[in-house]
Each structure stands twice: as structure tokens, then as C-alpha cells.
């Protein structure tokens, strides 16, 4: 399509590019630059340029936090997938007049503030919270379980917060699944398991990957979940970066951590990009 009057096109392209360059690309370039800067008591960022920040990362404490964050985020992703896949599958293929209500009930947590949902988990898990009270009342335990402030409570909080982000892409993906392919496989003699493994799983792989990315990335960085639900030892990558910027005031080190983290994510995204091909890139 070639229009005679192109002013609208140039106006909107100019606006969006200017915006993205100033508020997305430039800031990220600045983080990269900052990761090579030094800092002293009076300046947050100063010369000379140095690689020291990256060398500092090669230290048992930071490596442990990196490893632990990856471990927790992967476990959270797997749990969300195992809980969410059969759930999304059942809802997507359901033929019931309640279907749209059930879908709406999944969208609501997606829109609700994640902070509020984290807070509601504290109410459940605290020593005098709902779960402990029920267990005490039924006589299953005789003193409150220390559910809160542990790695388990961080994991429960993460899964609780991020499960909708796994379910929604899966739901959209499974809804588009062509029933005839499943019928054909069954007609040709495939049993349930083979049909799932050879037909359904490959076709829903884009949904699985999208959902996993939407769960994995925030799981590593939502600093307020370990902060509110975790104990003093539950420090994840997000908390580490937040600490370096706002408490330790060591911006160069915080930037270096973010750059390394972003590079790891970039590699993971590239793998995802390649496995998806060009067409299936819609996420939401």
C-alpha cells in the first residue's frame, strides 16, 4: 500500500522510535557502560573504566545466588507446567456452558496486583494463619508449622503468582488445536499416550515455551516475593540487584550483575526464537 500523504506514517514512526531509543535502548546502553565504571563515596558512577566489577562476580556468594535463582526459577517453571498444562487442556477442550466463566476466573488473577496476591499468601501461611489453624483444629499437628519465611514459602508464593502466566498462553494455544488431527491419530490406531506424545505435545509446544518464559523470567527477579515470604537467607537475583542499587549503593556492581543476567536470558531467548520459527511469536 502506498499512500499519497505520508505525514501520519512518519509522525508515528518518529514518535515510537524516539521513545524506544531514549527510554529503552539508551538506558540499557547506560547500564552496560555503568558496569565498567568505578564508584567512590561521592560519585555513584565515575572513571576509570574497569573490569573489576565482573571479576568481583566470580565469588562464592554471588555464584551461589545465581545458581540458587536458576534452580528456584526452573523448579517453579516445572511445577507451573505440571499443574497448568492438564488444567489448561481440560478447560480449553471443555464443552460446557460454564466455559467462559471458568476462563474469566483465570483471567482475574492475571489482572490482580501480584503484590496483593503475595500478601494474601502471608495470611495463609503465617504461624497463626489459615493453614496452621485448620491443621491445629483438626488435630493433625499440635504446634504451628513454620511455613512462612522458608524456601518452601517462596516457592509457593512464586507458583501462586505466576501460574496464570503459564495457563493463559497454553489455553490460547490448545484452543487452536485441530480436533481432526487427534481423531485421525486415534483412527489410525494410536493409543492415548502416543496421540499425546506425537500429536498434541508437538502442536502445543509454542504454548509451553511461551508460558515457561513468562514464568521463568519473573521468577528470577520478583524481589518482593523472597523479601516478604522468604527468610533472611532467601536472596535471589532480584534482591541482589535491588540491594546493590538502593542499599549498598554500588551501581557498577549492580549493573554488572544485570548485564550478565541479561546475556544469559538473551541466549535462552535466542534458543526459543529458533525453535519457534517465524510465525508463532505471539505471546499474549
Amino acid at each position: 500500500m502506498k499512500a499519497h500523504d505520508n505525514s501520519l506514517k512518519y509522525f508515528s514512526l518518529g514518535t515510537i522510535w524516539l521513545w524506544l531509543i531514549v527510554f529503552a535502548l539508551l538506558p540499557f546502553a547506560l547500564v552496560t557502560l555503568a558496569s565498567f565504571a568505578s564508584h567512590d563515596d561521592t560519585h555513584l558512577l565515575t572513571t576509570p573504566a574497569t573490569l573489576l566489577n565482573y571479576f568481583q562476580l566470580n565469588n562464592a556468594i554471588y555464584l551461589k545466588i545465581f545458581k540458587q535463582s536458576f534452580y528456584i526459577a526452573s523448579t517453579c517453571t516445572v511445577i507451573c507446567l505440571l499443574l497448568g498444562y492438564p488444567f489448561a487442556y481440560t478447560i480449553a477442550r471443555m464443552q460446557s456452558r460454564y466455559k467462559s466463566l471458568l476462563m474469566l476466573l483465570i483471567i482475574i488473577p492475571f489482572w490482580t496486583s501480584s503484590l496483593i496476591r503475595t500478601y494474601s499468601m502471608i495470611t495463609m501461611l503465617k504461624p497463626k494463619g489459615i493453614i496452621n489453624s485448620i491443621l491445629l483444629w483438626t488435630g493433625i499437628i499440635d504446634k504451628p508449622l513454620p511455613l512462612l519465611f522458608s524456601d518452601t514459602s517462596v516457592m509457593i508464593g512464586l507458583v501462586y503468582n505466576l501460574l496464570p502466566f503459564m495457563v493463559l498462553p497454553l489455553l490460547t494455544n490448545i484452543e487452536r488445536l485441530d480436533n481432526r488431527l487427534i481423531d485421525a491419530a486415534r483412527d489410525l490406531g494410536a493409543n492415548r499416550f502416543t496421540t499425546f506424545r506425537r500429536i498434541i505435545l508437538p502442536l502445543t509446544m509454542p504454548g509451553i515455551l511461551s508460558g515457561s518464559i513468562l514464568v521463568f523470567l519473573p521468577a528470577m527477579t520478583i524481589f518482593y516475593i523472597p523479601d516478604l515470604l522468604g527468610g533472611s537467607k532467601s536472596i535471589l537475583l532480584g534482591n541482589l540487584i535491588q540491594n546493590q542499587f538502593l542499599i549498598a549503593q554500588n551501581w557498577p556492581l549492580g549493573s554488572a550483575i544485570s548485564v550478565v543476567f541479561t546475556l544469559i536470558l538473551a541466549v535462552m531467548l535466542l534458543v526459543y526464537w529458533h525453535s519457534m520459527g517465524n510465525k508463532e511469536r505471539d505471546l499474549l
Binding site: 500500500m1 500523504d5 489482572w111 513468562l214 527477579t221 542499587f245 538502593l246 544485570s258 505471546l283
Partner: protein
């Protein structure tokens, strides 16, 4: 297939989603400070909440921020989506890739990078830094929402308008906008919700002079569970429900 395990599994997941929120709502009406035991229905915590002046200031700030950010993001994002659909231009794939990456990029990285930008440009941390940050993280979501709607249109509508001699600006105001307003509105609502709920990015670019609701809730929650917070969360949850309902109603309408 046996229906019982399937039904109980679905129920289990829904209970997992909703039980914590339902208890939070119930206890916001409980007439007791610490106890889990029901001491009777009371609006006491709501009265205390509404009497808290600081909180009202934070609410007003958040509304002002959310409305401004959503409006700017809707205009810029909507125009971008329309342009990406209607024209072929140099860097189109680069632009869509960048928008895709912005949706995925971790909030914390966006937060610290904007903090560095604002401190180098000497933008004081407060309303303007928050506004610029919020617009930036809302734009990609508007683009995706509007774009996914616009591709479902019949291209010939635009061709017909052009054949009949309409200029681009006329096509925009007489053809595209009347068809696209539900998507624009739902992009606006999504942006507003994102802005009202954001903790991760605001945490880095907020200043002491401009307190906003999510950060206020965060600092209250860090001090422990209190019935006023239950009431505050219930009110916020109710508002979210209204916004979801509007957006669902609007999007369900077929063009």
C-alpha cells in the same frame, strides 16, 4: 472417562487461586485486630482506611499517574500498531522485535536502567520519572493488544476508503478509529492496571515526594499483616474486578 478426578483437580486449582483472596476479603470485615476467630461483621477497618490522609494522597497520585500513563501509552502504542499494519517500512521487523523484547525484558533491568538514565539526565525522581517509566512499559502491551485486533479486519475496507478518495487522516478518523476503539480501550485498561499495580519498576524510579499506592502497600506489608491492609487490598481487588469486567465486555463485542 471418569469425571470425578478431573472435576476435583479443576476445583483444586481454582481453590488455590481464590482461597487466599477470599480469606483476605473475609478478614477485612472481621471485628478483631489479630484474631483469626470471627468476632462479628464490622466496617471498622474501612473507616480507619478512609481516615488515613497519607493513603488518600497515594491513591490520588496513583490514579493521576495511571490515567496519564495509560492515555499516552494508548496514543503512541495505538498509532504504532496501526502504522505497523498499514505500511511497509524500513526496520519494521526490528521494531516488532524490539517491542517483543520489551515485553519479555525483566522489570528489574528496566527499573535500574531508567534509574541510571534519570540520574544522568538529572530528572528528579518523582511524578515525571514515574510517568516516563510507566508509559515505556505500557506501550508494548498496547501495541500487542491493538495489533492482534487490527489484523482481524478486512483489508478491503481500507482499500475501499482510499478508492473513494479518503486521505490517510480521514481513513484514520472515519474508518480505523470507529472499528478499533474497543481494542484501544482495552489497551488503555490494561495499561492502567499495569501502572496501578507496578512495584518492580516504580521501586527504582519513585522519589520521596511522590508516594504511590503500590509502594505504599509494599511498605505497609513489610511491617506485617494488619486488618487495614486487608481492607485496602479488598478495595483494590474490587476495582480490578470492575476493570476486567469492562475490558471483557468491550472485547467480546464483534466489530
Amino acid at each position: 472417562m471418569n469425571k470425578l478426578p478431573v472435576t476435583s483437580y479443576l476445583t483444586g486449582i481454582y481453590l488455590f487461586f481464590y482461597i487466599p483472596i477470599i480469606f483476605l476479603i473475609i478478614y477485612s470485615f472481621n471485628n478483631a485486630q489479630y484474631s483469626l476467630i470471627w468476632h462479628g461483621f464490622s466496617m471498622r477497618w474501612y473507616h480507619e482506611l478512609f481516615a488515613d490522609g497519607d493513603l488518600w494522597v497515594a491513591v490520588l497520585h496513583s490514579l493521576l499517574l495511571g490515567i496519564s500513563a495509560a492515555t499516552v501509552a494508548m496514543c503512541v502504542g495505538g498509532l504504532t500498531a496501526i502504522t505497523m499494519y498499514r505500511y511497509d517500512f524500513f526496520g519494521r521487523r526490528l521494531l516488532s522485535g524490539l517491542i517483543f523484547i520489551l515485553i519479555l525484558s525483566p522489570d528489574i533491568v528496566m527499573g535500574i536502567s531508567l534509574l541510571i538514565l534519570f540520574s544522568l539526565l538529572r530528572v528528579p525522581l518523582g511524578f515525571w520519572s514515574l510517568l516516563l517509566a510507566h508509559i515505556t512499559f505500557c506501550i508494548p502491551f498496547v501495541v500487542v493488544t491493538v495489533y492482534s485486533r487490527i489484523v482481524s479486519f478486512d483489508e478491503y475496507i481500507f482499500e475501499a476508503a482510499k478508492d473513494l478518495g479518503a486521505k490517510d487522516s480521514v481513513i484514520l478518523s472515519r474508518v480505523i478509529l470507529p472499528l478499533l476503539w474497543p481494542a484501544l480501550l482495552s489497551g488503555w485498561l490494561l495499561s492502567f492496571t499495569l501502572s496501578i499495580d507496578d512495584v518492580m519498576i516504580s521501586y527504582f524510579v519513585a522519589g520521596p515526594d511522590f508516594e504511590i499506592l503500590p509502594l505504599k502497600i509494599y511498605s505497609m506489608v513489610r511491617l506485617g499483616v494488619k486488618p487495614e491492609i486487608n481492607a485496602l487490598c479488598t478495595v483494590t481487588f474490587g476495582l480490578t474486578l470492575i476493570l476486567v469486567a469492562i475490558s471483557q465486555l468491550v472485547l467480546r463485542k464483534k466489530p
